[in-house]
Structures are given as C-alpha cells and as structure tokens.
Symmetry: C2
Subunit: 250 residues, 2 copies
C-alpha cells in the first residue's frame, strides 16, 4: 500500500464545489469515481487540503489517497487523466510518506482572485473572472489590504455559517497586480476561513470605489462582526492557487 499526493486543477463552473454531496456533481466524487474504476470497483477515499465552493476554481489543489496498485507516478497521472472528466486535470503525482496528510500538514495556501476591470465584459472570461467595470482607487485598496496582513481574528471576514471556533489566522502576504485588463489579488496565509478571501475582496472593492475608507479595515477587524464587512465577491473569480507543505517564505 502506498500513499500518493496529487496536485490537481479544476474548472469550478460545472461543480457543486469540491466536497461530496448527494446527487451533486463534485470534484471529490468525480475523482473517487475515477479511482474506483482503476481499482475494480473498490472505493478509495481521497483527502484534500480543504474544500472549495461551487464555481470556485483550483490551479493547485492537493489531495492524497492510498492504493495497493504499484504504478509509476507518471503512469498514475496519465491513467487518472484518462479516467477523469475534462474539467479536472492531475498535474502531478508523487509518492509520499504514509503519514503525509493533505489537510493536516498544510503550512500555507495561496488564493488568487481575478477581477476583470475593463468597461466591457468578455464572453471568454465570464466564468473565470469577476467583471468589475467601475473605477477603482488602487492606492486606497492597497492601503486597506495592508491593514489585513498579519495575524488577526478574522471573524468579520468569515461567513456566519461556520463551525470553526478559532478565527485567528495569519496572512503572510497580500499582492495586487494589474495584468492587462485584469487586477489579480493574491493572498498567502496559514489558513483561510469560510468565504474569507471573497469577503475581503468584496470589502476591498468597496474601498476601491470610494464607498468605504481604507482606514475602516482596522475597526471592522476589531468589531468581529461579519455585517460590518463588504459583500462576498462571486466564486468564479476565485482560485485555490497553491498549497504549501513547508513553512511559507517570501
């Protein structure tokens, strides 16, 4: 029996999120179904670094599973890709120690959010970006983002329907970069609460359009009250970009 770690990407549009749900098409169920076909009907469970919501994409989600099959890693990658639907791709497979755990061993994650900031929307990017056609004060957004970096209780930036008790997280780095007609926001942290990145992006947009002042961020954090932060930005702009299993270093 060997343990395998896979880096996978998926297009979130046609999935009801990552995690198995009855009668829904999910990334986990499609992946486990592919494994089942490779194991003559035997069910093989996969563990991911964490779930993602409906329409949210992943460039570098990580999953692990155990298998008795002895196949070289490149063979695993090809076999899985031949079994999987086109909107999930296995980018790499590695053998790992039997105690490697895709969720418990996570040291940091990077999420990216793609904003299409042109006047015109784009049919080719509609499922992969959030179109925001209004003027944005990037300077104010950077100032606001700066106050979120570091270790904080992010209760105000967490969807209220969550079971997690400890809402203290550390954001190591927030970057904003214009790339053509897009504004890419990157967040690297030791963990992210439910909807945290999407609520942060929604709030930063309200700073960018002048509805809020950049200085509000600190009082929003202190209040620990979700209703003080901005709207949750849509899922289709969000990407789980990469998962780090070693301490993150700039």
């Amino acid at each position: 029996m060997s343990r395998y770690k896979c880096i996978i990407s998926y297009d979130g549009n046609q999935f009801s999120g990552y995690q198995v749900q009855p009668n829904k098409r999910t990334v986990q169920s499609e992946f486990e179904y592919a494994l089942q076909k490779m194991h003559k009907g035997e069910q093989i469970k996969i563990i991911s670094s964490g779930r993602t919501d409906a329409t949210v994409h992943a460039l570098g989600q990580v999953v692990h599973f155990d298998s008795p099959l002895s196949i070289p890693v490149e063979g695993w990658r090809k076999a899985l890709n031949s079994m999987l639907p086109e909107d999930i791709r296995v980018r790499s497979v590695d053998t790992v120690e039997p105690d490697f755990h895709a969720r418990f061993d996570v040291k940091a994650k990077e999420y990216r959010y793609r904003l299409l900031i042109s006047d015109e929307s784009c049919v080719f990017k509609r499922q992969y970006t959030y179109h925001y056609p209004y003027p944005l004060n990037l300077h104010a957004m950077k100032e606001a983002a700066f106050s979120l970096a570091g270790t904080h209780d992010f209760t105000s930036f967490c969807a209220s329907k969550t079971e997690v008790q400890d809402k203290v997280r550390t954001i190591y780095q927030i970057k904003m970069e214009k790339q053509g007609d897009e504004l890419i926001l990157s967040f690297i942290g030791n963990g992210f609460l439910y909807n945290m990145v999407r609520i942060i992006v929604g709030t930063l947009l309200e700073v960018g359009n002048g509805k809020r002042d950049a200085k509000e961020m600190e009082s929003i954090l202190t209040a620990k009250n979700r209703s003080l932060a901005g709207k949750t930005a849509p899922g289709q702009g969000l990407y789980l970009w990469q998962v780090f299993y070693e301490e993150w270093q700039k």
Copy 2:
C-alpha cells in the same frame, strides 16, 4: 426605420454554430429572440458577415438589422446586452447607411487560432484553445504558411461539403506568434471557405511535427484535392477575430 451595425462577441461552446437551425441553440436565434422581445413580439431578422460553426468563437462578428425603434446607439448596446444570454455580448452598435450589408460589404476578415503548446493541458483553456502537446518546428510551419499567402484556389483546404463554386481566395497575411504557452496563428484574407482556416491549421501542425515537408504546400494547392491536406483542427481554438469593411491594409 434605421439600420444598425453591431459588433458582437460570443463563446461558441454552448452554441450549435451561428446560423438558425430547428431546435438548436444558435447565436442568430438567441440574438433574434432578444430583438423580438424589444419589438413587442415582432420578428426582426439579422444578417451576419458569415456563419461560424459549432464551438467556434467570435471576438468581432458583425451583424446588421433594421428597426423602427429610435434608441441611441449606447442604449441599444445596453438593452441588447440585458436581453442576451451571457455568452453573447454586444461590443458596439452604430447607425449605418440603409444600404450597408454585413455580408456583401465585407472586404476582409481576420481569423485567429489559439494553440496551447504546453506539455500539460489546462482546465481553464480547454474550451478556448486546442491543446497540442507535441514538439513543433515553428520555422517549418512559417515556411509552409508563407506558401499559402496570396491568391490561390483553396479547394484542397475546403471541406468537401460546400456549395461554393469559386474557391479562389486571397490571404493577405498569415502570422504566427508565441504568447506565453500559446501559439497564435492569425489569418487575414478577403474571404475563407468552409473549414479553410481549420484545415490550414491542421496541415501546418503536420508540417510542424515533421509528418509533412513545408514544401508540400504548393503541390497540395495545385492538386485541388481535399484529401491531400491535413486534418481539420478542432473548432474550439478558432476565433472570428474581426471583420473589415474597408480594404485591408497592412
């Protein structure tokens, strides 16, 4: 009654092509349905620069229609976009002379073909590029492309099921450009036969991978025989990029 010219873009994936077909979702039928809603149920026919096939995209397709409604052009654009499905967008609307004709007045068209030439496929580009993971000799492809530029009888590069008699067309310019992990082929010509760009791309790929010699292109043209050219490249890499109503000048 005024005549309007619209530049529209569409994501070809969810359409059975441009042209109306019974019980199929097409760009023309969606557009005419949007116009019908704006005209209290009256049917308004649109004329395009030409049809595109299933899965083929358009960045700058052009259509015209006549309407008794007096709406400013920006109002037309917004109204149409509010009525149209998300995978068709009106980029601009202009009033034109009553004798403007979106098909008959075409002077030139540009098609582009996007090849994803990385080893790995990409879930986010699978519907917008053709993934070609094998090594390509770009120099040989350029040489082959060069022999296609100019005025030729393109019978060998035209799908056999076509009604067009005169298969002489002029390609003004063929360009190949690497952009990141993509190879973009651009074709500007006075007109293109059925599947012509896709057959040219398919043949150029066979030159690029060494299956054919670049020098074969001339004998393929001379033979006027479709079976001598290469495979038809898939539709999802092809874009009707722009339509010119003035003589094309480099």
